[in-house]
């Protein structure tokens, strides 16, 4: 990748140890494998949709959201926005961007690829671009994402996907 050393220099603040983001970056480095895993997982979710419909989507919401929060929280620093776009953003959660940008980086990314707001954190979208290059469907990073629906915050996006793709939705 092209590096430009003289661009925006962070004013004298030493970066915090990088291992704070270690697991998140591991997920991005393995975005290709995770995307394959996620595709299989999604098929399983859709297959299980009729069962979920019998159990009641509403009743499943809390336990599933709790599991999703734990797993994705650990792997991606997931913020449970409820409308997951990880598969379009190279497995880099865009909600970790201080501006919550879901369509790409802002113009303030530093020359070293770190965030304008948090100089010690690599830009979420620099990472997203790296991760997307490892994914089979990495070009989905070019999809224009709609504005976020704040009502869905905290809800399970897994259930939402299962509901939508299986066509068994309705009683959310």
């Amino acid at each position: 990748m092209l590096r430009v050393p003289a661009a925006f220099e962070p004013p004298g603040k030493p970066p915090r140890p990088r291992d704070r983001f270690a697991l998140r970056f591991w997920s991005i480095r393995h975005a290709g494998g995770l995307a394959r895993f996620y595709a299989a997982f999604e098929r399983a979710l859709v297959a299980a949709a009729p069962l979920a419909a019998r159990l009641g989507w509403t009743r499943l919401e809390r336990p599933v959201a709790a599991v999703e929060r734990t797993v994705k929280g650990a792997l991606f620093d997931c913020r449970m926005c409820g409308q997951c776009v990880l598969s379009s953003t190279g497995m880099s959660c865009p909600m970790n961007c201080p501006k919550n940008l879901r369509n790409g980086p802002c113009g303030g990314v530093r020359g070293d690829g770190n965030c304008e707001v948090y100089p010690e954190m690599p830009c979420v979208w620099v990472k997203a671009w790296e991760g997307s290059r490892l994914m089979a469907e990495g070009d989905r990073i070019g999809d224009v994402q709609p504005p976020i629906d704040h009502r869905l915050k905290g809800r399970s996006s897994w259930l939402a996907v299962a509901q939508e793709k299986s066509g068994t939705g309705g009683a959310a």
């Binding site: 430009v4 501006k99 802002c106 303030g108 504005p147």
Partner: protein, 354 residues
């Protein structure tokens, strides 16, 4: 009459909206100039920290006859100033073509959409959709950052308002805002390979013109533009390259370490340091960059950001020769009908003295 003047770009009264030409989305001069294939010049107005209209007129007067449109910044650098919408409304009153900058930092989708309708009703033809700087870099770091939309979804939102006459919610708008939509791009910040793709995304979301961050590194811009041409993006949007004079090597150093997204190569700073008159050298560098970017295929104009050096814009545009004798709009006090608003003319004269 000057053959380079296009009388159809000027209404009976300069503040009257022009009829939209076929294929145009706005009723403004900026879109006309760009679609005609002229090399456009826009400039950035430093918004006053006051409640006085004359302060705006005074600051706009230095651009008269030299720029096609004036950008009114929306709390740039997350610093508080007179609002963009108010400055634009004031500029339309005397016939300037303003560009309303909308930052996603300060208001949510409800506020933004309302402002777009209001601005359009006030005669504003151009909007520039920005994400905005983080509050941390401004004078109110304790403020609540909003970022309800991002620049790309803001573009899509305004396009929906304009082309489908609907709010984001789907509710109907009786008269949609006929605006020319712009966005920003920074070819000088990472991830470099993603920047042209991000531009493509913005074009897909509705961007019709682009104003870039300050260009001090022409080879980097050339690389970006080569990719843009590969993707044929320059056929779908007009690209105006951001330029500006550096007052001194010290300012340049300060800018690159304190202003987000500004990239200044060491060579430029060295050149400023060695110069006897750093200010003059800064202007010379800017003129040279304007001339260099003009030669790059796909560049449709320049956006001059001469913060606190606005009085040099005319001089630099003149020296660069990019207008090729074309004269953008300027007040014509002899034009019948212009003097109708006597108070305004008097105020302008007073502002000129002050």
């Amino acid at each position: 009459m000057n053959p380079r003047l296009h009388p159809e770009d000027f209404g009976e009264n300069p503040w009257d909206p022009l009829p939209a030409l076929p294929g145009h989305t706005s009723r403004g001069r900026l879109e006309r100039v760009l679609r005609r294939g002229e090399f456009a010049v826009t400039a950035e107005l430093n918004p006053p920290d006051s409640a006085l209209a004359e302060d705006v007129y005074k600051r706009a007067a230095v651009f008269e006859g030299w720029v096609d449109a004036i950008n009114a910044t929306d709390g740039s650098g997350a610093n508080c100033h007179m609002s963009s919408i108010a400055i634009c409304a004031l500029l339309t009153r005397i016939g300037f073509s303003p560009v309303l900058q909308i930052s996603c930092r300060d208001t949510n989708r409800i506020g933004i959409q309302g402002n777009v309708l209001g601005a359009s009703a006030l005669g504003v033809n151009n909007v520039l959709c920005l994400t905005g700087d983080g509050v941390q870099s401004g004078d109110h770091p304790e403020a609540k950052p909003v970022f309800d939309l991002d620049s790309t979804s803001l573009l899509a939102t305004i396009r929906r308002m304009r082309d489908e006459a609907k709010f984001l919610s789907g509710r109907k708008i009786t008269t949609p805002p006929p605006v020319f939509m712009g966005a920003a791009e920074n070819p000088f910040a990472p991830p470099y390979d993603f920047r042209p793709l991000r531009l493509a995304k913005k074009v897909r979301a509705g961007a019709q013109f682009i104003q870039t961050q300050y260009c001090f590194d022409v080879p980097l811009l050339e690389r970006f533009m080569a990719r843009v041409r590969d993707m044929e993006l320059e056929k779908h949007c007009f690209i105006l390259v951001g330029v500006g004079p550096l007052a001194s090597a010290k300012t340049a150093r300060w800018m690159r370490s304190n202003v987000a997204g500004v990239h200044i190569p060491d060579a430029i700073i060295e050149r400023l340091e060695k110069a006897k008159d750093q200010k003059a050298e800064g202007k010379r560098i800017c003129v040279e960059i304007i001339q260099q970017v003009r030669e790059i295929a796909g560049v449709a104009g320049v956006h001059v950001m001469a913060y606190r050096q606005e009085e040099y814009v005319a001089e630099m545009v003149h020296e660069s020769g990019v207008l090729k004798g074309r004269q953008p709009w300027r007040r014509d006090l002899t034009r019948p009908g212009f003097d109708l608003d006597q108070r305004l003319t008097e105020n302008l004269a007073r502002a000129g003295e002050g």
